[in-house]
């Protein structure tokens, strides 16, 4: 039971990632594929953040342990645990995954826009964004319009 | 004293959560687009008000309370506007409200007749 509790996040994140991957693989529509990739990417972010969580921790913004918020935070934790896991008497979650994923999200939306822009151009050239129909147009004489 | 205030705040927050659940139920159960939007938007602002009021009571007299109050003002500004824009666009696009006596399964019956 405690094993499942400790690994629940990873299992669900694998499910979410595979859901995004399945949408990307099985769809014939380019826009739907981009949506699948976006979901996949967000889920990878969730995995990173899961790894950086420290139980009983707080956001990585320096906190005085004698302040009201610091005392409220430490009230639920054993002093032994705080001494082992904390920095200067306060337990923080790991900030490094946060930095990586923060920039990845913004880069992700920019690259998503590039993918969607390509889909828009494909539509203007072929009149459709379905992979099967495009292959059919290429096979016959029709070809792209632009 | 502060114990009592915390209890009142917590119960207000729970009441807000219940209002949100009722609103979601309305979105699922109501027959047409306009009643659904109405259920969503009214309980949205109402539930948010209750929750934020509760949180203000819990947080006490501090900067946090002021920030919560600003968030409340923001919700009061955006949520009704969003609901208005949504219904206005739907009306412009030709969606008409179902008028007449209340029959919960009106929509389903119409679909069956089609």
């Amino acid at each position: 039971m405690s094993f499942l509790l400790g690994h629940f996040n990873y299992l669900i994140v694998v499910f979410l990632m595979m859901g995004g991957l399945w949408i990307t693989f099985s769809s014939r529509n380019y826009i739907k594929r981009m949506i699948g990739l976006a979901l996949f990417q967000t889920s990878v972010g969730l995995f990173y953040i899961s790894l950086g969580k420290v139980a009983g921790g707080t956001a990585a913004i320096v906190l005085d342990k004698t302040s009201k918020a610091g005392e409220a935070l430490n009230a639920h934790l054993s002093p032994d645990y705080v001494a082992r896991a904390g920095v200067d008497g306060v337990v923080y979650s790991n900030p490094l995954p946060h930095v990586l994923i923060l920039t990845a999200i913004v880069v992700g939306v920019a690259t998503l826009a590039v993918g969607l822009a390509i889909a828009v151009r494909v539509r203007e050239a072929y009149g459709t964004v379905e992979a099967g129909e495009i292959a059919e147009l290429d096979r016959t004489e029709a070809g792209p319009r632009a | 004293m502060s114990e009592v205030v915390t209890w009142i705040g917590s119960s207000l927050a729970v009441a807000g959560a219940l209002a949100a659940i009722i609103g979601s139920l309305g979105v699922i159960r109501f027959p047409d687009f306009y009643t659904r939007t109405h259920a969503a938007s009214i309980t949205d602002t109402g539930a948010a008000t209750l929750m934020i009021l509760g949180l203000i009571l819990i947080s006490g007299w501090s900067v946090l309370a002021l920030k919560l109050a600003i968030i409340w003002a923001f919700i009061m500004l955006t949520s009704p506007t969003a609901a208005h824009a949504l219904t206005n666009a739907a009306y412009g696009a030709g969606e008409r409200p179902q008028l007449g006596p209340w029959r919960l399964f009106d929509r389903d019956r119409k679909e069956a007749e089609r």
């Binding site: 405690s2 299992l11 014939r28 969580k53 009983g56 999200i105 913004v106 992700g108 822009a117 | -």
Partner: protein, 360 residues
């Protein structure tokens, strides 16, 4: 090292509930054939994961996810389906078998690997004890900013962030090359001006509340920008919030009105200038005898000695760090905001029929 078991506290329960909601949404996105529904569900997915990120103590990331995932990417995706189509074709079940097999095998391998990972929240997990802990211990002393995420983002890993800012700039450039800068909207016959819209009484509620909201959102963007050292926030979030304010203006008052206030030329110019400012700060450090993006050498030594107190705290240059972070965050802000606006212009400018007051 003592073994660690994830406690079943309120945090964990909320975590499980939110992740279950995300799983349901992914299934719904996979099943729907309407792209509009898929995009709205993806937006909901972003909002729920933003809440989940707060539970996981990632306040900065949550902020970004809420603005980017639920705001900007939804608008861009909606623009894309407006320009293509909003329905995808039915997939024969036979064709889903191979992807299903592939996904099941990959997922099975990942689950097999995940079983060896440390439990959620383990403070002695390898990911949490080396460099992450060093940042926590030394950031306030080295950099002097309470928000360690900002310290790591802009100072310790400033080079990394420069690369990412460049990627955003390049992506904006790519979209502009593919779709243009939105000039088509300017070439059209002129639309009814704001005064005419006011006379005819169209969208009064929207226009009035947008006029109240846009200045508030802009001020909030600057608050997030300059408060990023102390609390959650920074150039990435602030840039996207600013872009959202501009996009809101375009949605309510029409693309042409917005393009008159913020011309596409200005947006693309600032987009490049932001990267230049970021890299320029690095070059200034080089000329003062430091390494690239080592803000300790931002100011010449003689100038720094003239500054009031704490110019050298324990061998570190707090003034240099402070102004270096301020400058590069400004560069990030300019690049992100104007790239998002450029991308929006590119998509919106492609659709001359995207009228703010049309029917549908």
């Amino acid at each position: 090292m003592p073994s660690f078991a994830t406690p079943l506290d309120a945090n964990t329960i909320v975590d499980i509930a939110l992740l279950a909601m995300l799983a349901v949404i992914v299934v719904a996105v996979a099943r729907t054939r309407s792209l509009l529904t898929a995009i709205i569900l993806t937006s909901v997915y972003s909002f729920i994961s933003a809440v989940w990120l707060v539970v996981m103590d990632a306040a900065d990331v949550s902020f970004t996810e809420a603005v980017v995932g639920a705001g900007v990417s939804t608008i861009i995706a909606l623009g894309a389906i407006l320009l293509t189509r909003s329905e995808c074709s039915r997939i024969p079940w036979r064709e889903t078998l191979l992807p299903l097999l592939l996904v099941t095998v990959t997922g099975g391998l990942l689950v097999y690997a995940a079983l060896d990972l440390p439990s959620l929240g383990d403070p002695s997990a390898p990911a949490n004890i080396y460099v992450g802990r060093l940042y926590l211990q030394h950031a306030e002393h080295d950099i002097g900013t309470p928000n360690i995420v900002t310290a790591v983002l802009s100072s310790y890993r400033g080079f990394d962030t420069l690369g990412e800012t460049t990627v955003i700039f390049a992506a904006g450039l790519g979209v502009a090359l593919l779709l243009g800068f939105g000039e088509r909207a300017l070439q059209d016959t002129p639309r009814p001006s704001m005064a005419k819209m006011a006379e005819s009484g169209q969208h009064v509620v929207l226009r009035v509340s947008a006029k109240m909201l846009i200045p508030m959102i802009s001020i909030y963007a600057f608050y997030v920008q300059f408060h990023g050292d102390l609390g959650p926030g920074g150039g990435f979030q602030a840039g996207v919030i600013m872009a959202v304010a501009i996009i809101l203006h375009a949605l309510v008052f029409g693309l042409q009105e917005t393009m008159e206030s913020i011309p596409p030329q200005l947006a693309r110019g600032l987009s490049a200038f932001g990267v230049l400012l970021y890299a320029g700060v690095g070059v200034v450090n080089l000329t003062n005898g430091g390494n690239f993006l080592d803000y300790d050498h931002l100011f010449p030594r003689i100038f720094e000695e003239g500054l009031p107190d704490s110019h050298l705290v324990g061998g570190h240059h707090i003034w240099g760090q402070h102004f270096g972070i301020l400058a590069i965050e400004l560069g990030v802000f300019l690049t992100v905001a104007s790239t998002m606006v450029t991308i929006f212009y590119a998509f919106a400018g492609r659709a001359p029929d995207l009228s703010p007051h049309g029917e549908g």
